[in-house]
């Protein structure tokens, strides 16, 4: 009986969906992906978000194109616009210039570009960033290691990664002032072989916990084999190492997509109003989440060990578990009081980067060349001054 009711309800919903699509004009929205939807990282997350957005906005029709090389963004957009797309999301930094060009070429189409900085009256930018979560992960990583030696597998030395690695190191040093983060670059977003080599060499060099920014689950799998605590990246990788995944960062691009599309449907966002629309969404907006998997901020298996490590915050004694949960709650609240990039912060060469009492601006964070103290290993184009 219950099932029948459910079915009826679903049928009703579908009916409503069809009905409203015929009546209101929800613009057809199309997504240009840089990778295959089957990676366990970036493109997979955008595609999941697309599906959730479709569910959330009645009558929304979407389309996607996967693995679009940078040279082909323009022809792909041409084709999508020809197929009736009125909103186009381009989800890679490398699509920036071509998206801007397309915005000029198709003034009646709304564009939104991920992770870039160029905008137009009909082109917005958006980004969901993890730096706050990396800070929390750094705290936990340091608490779980005896020596404070941590390892980090990075894709490319771009500002996004420097921001993540530095936040991780700052968090680690908040728990253990002697903590170090050894970084290995694999110069690829998707290269399981190199990721494994990097993770293994970090472990053999003494790393007692691993974090990473690249688009595979390899580091988690490698850590699971060696029983080393690890932090999952982008999507939940808990299932690849339920005994070793402490926590990690999860993304919810749908928060941005749904908000954006609601405003498009309502008319607030149109082809004239996007010049200053730049989403920089963090924990507060729920675009990102601390966790080994959805709803599990910290793997319960590590709770006791994290509670056993005490730290002093503003003269008060607490433990790492409680502190991480408190900071997570604060940064997820409507008015966060804490930011990992609150000055004074020196870079690892002793140059003052964020003055006392100031918080690094979005612009600073987006063009970060320097890295925080404690980060070891070669960093390409680290500013000397």
């Amino acid at each position: 009986m219950k099932n029948v009711l459910m079915l009826a309800a679903v049928a009703g919903l579908v009916g409503v969906g069809l009905h409203s699509s015929a009546q209101t004009s929800v613009p057809k929205s199309c997504f240009v992906y840089v990778g295959p939807v089957g990676d366990i990282g970036w493109t997979f997350a955008h595609n999941e978000a697309r599906l959730l957005t479709e569910k959330a906005i009645p009558g929304l029709e979407t389309k996607f194109v996967e693995s679009v090389p940078e040279a082909q963004a323009m022809p792909t957009i041409d084709k999508l616009v020809g197929d009736g797309c009125k909103v186009v999301f381009t989800t890679s930094f490398g699509f920036m210039d071509q998206t801007l060009e397309a915005a000029k070429k198709y003034p009646d189409v709304i564009f939104a570009h991920t992770s870039g900085y160029k905008r137009a009256p009909n082109m917005a930018t958006y980004m969901a960033d993890f730096y706050q979560i990396y800070y929390l992960n750094g705290m936990m990583a340091a608490a779980l290691s005896k020596t404070g030696k941590l390892g980090y597998v990075g894709a490319f030395p771009i500002p996004e990664l420097k921001r993540h690695i530095s936040a991780f190191a700052l968090g680690a040093r908040a728990v253990n002032p002697k903590a170090t983060v050894n970084v290995k670059w694999i110069n690829a977003w998707f290269d399981p072989v190199k990721a494994r080599e990097a993770a293994e060499s970090l472990i053999s060099e003494g790393a007692e916990a691993l974090a990473f920014t690249e688009d595979t689950a390899t580091v988690v799998q490698t850590a699971a084999k060696k029983n080393i605590p690890v932090f999952s990246h982008y999507n939940s990788m808990y299932k690849f190492g339920p005994d070793v995944v402490v926590s990690g960062q999860l993304v919810h691009w749908e928060k941005i997509y749904i908000d954006f599309m609601k405003k498009v449907v309502a008319g607030g966002y149109n082809t004239k109003s996007l010049q200053n629309v730049d989403y920089w969404w963090l924990l507060r907006e729920k675009a990102v989440e601390l966790g080994a998997q959805n709803g599990m901020p910290i793997n319960p298996k590590f709770m006791a060990r994290l509670k056993a490590v005490s730290i002093t915050v503003a003269g008060k004694k607490t433990n790492v578990y409680d502190r991480v949960m408190a900071l997570n709650a604060d940064m997820s609240s409507a008015k966060p009081t804490f930011d990992p990039y609150t000055g004074p912060i020196m870079d690892r060469n002793g140059i003052l980067r964020v003055p006392a009492g100031k918080v690094a601006s979005i612009g600073d964070l987006n063009s970060m060349g320097w890295v925080a103290p404690g980060v070891l290993g070669e960093i390409a184009d680290e500013p000397a001054k």
């Binding site: 295959p36 389309k63 996607f64 194109v65 996967e66 693995s67 090389p69 940078e70 040279a71 082909q72 323009m74 022809p75 792909t76 041409d78 084709k79 999508l80 020809g82 197929d83 930094f93 490398g94 070429k105 900085y117 490319f156 030395p157 771009i158 500002p159 420097k162 110069n187 987006n366 063009s367 970060m368 060349g369 390409a380 184009d381």
Partner: protein, 361 residues
Amino acid sequence: MRFTPLLNPSRWRTLQVSSLAVIVALLIVGIVFALSGVNPLTAYWEMLRGTLLDSRGLAEVARRMIPLLLIGAGLTLAFRAQFFNIGAEGQLLFGAMAAGAVALFLPITPLTLPLMFAAGALAGGGLALLAAWLRQRFAVNEILSTLMLNYGAFYLMLYLIGGPWKGKNVRGFMYSDEFAAGAQLPMIPNTLVHYPTLVLAILLAIALQILLTRTTLGFELRVVGENSSAAKYAGLKTSSIVTIMALITGGLAGLAGVGEVAGIHHRLLEPGQISLGYGFTAVIVAWLARGNPGLTLLTAPLMAVILAGGDVLKISLNLPFRIVDVFSGVMLLCLIASEIFITNKLVWSRAVKPTGSGGAS
């Protein structure tokens, strides 16, 4: 059932068998379409409609054809001389890097673009020459050396754009700065077709055909390829012929690289985004053309239709992006497998009666 060798397979037979191989490939890919839930006829119709019957689609075909034609024409020559150059990807990247060096570090003059093409051809040719030299000097198999040099070129480019050539205005991402306007090729408006490279490619394909069939060098090259000991016996300088041939095949791939960066990207970027597998797809172009540079004028557009058509399938029917690779893979496989039917006749009788050589029949 057995094969009996044909001494002099006719051109007509080559054409027949090759066309049949292409048709078999289309049938096999049709099965793949059906398995992924798309009516093969719909898929092929979409491909055709989105490429040849649509102005934007045609532009895409032309854009894909440029590097395929340049590299393919050069490869036919190399294959004719039995030099199996699998390194066009790397040679293309070397061409792109040389063009980048000229565009980024030399003063921009009206001669910048010609200089970029010259530098690119030299760089690509130089890389192929290295493999040719290794073969002549140390008998290193050129299939392996050219293939391995692809990785060398790939990582050299990554090093350059992540290090010394990294742009100032790229926010830490791995790109060079944008080329100045004087180092960018003109386009057919509203397309990505850099027509100077297209014209150059067509002229070179014709020139190579003339070189191969109407000149002494072409004759020598064919002799070296078909029977190197005979060539030596006849007193031909094998080494200098192979050198010239390597310079041409690598040089054309280098030109393709120049066209891609000066025409489309206007900067250096992650190497995989520039070469896009053109160097490998062009092997099929050359193979289909059976060693005739002129015929690549037909086979390059064919492969370009498949590449551009694959994109159409990706967009219109949401087929997985690997469909293009499946397509070219099946095509190459069928062509290679068909080779035996060109040089052999299928005889259905059971009796063993050797024809051609040996026993009188």
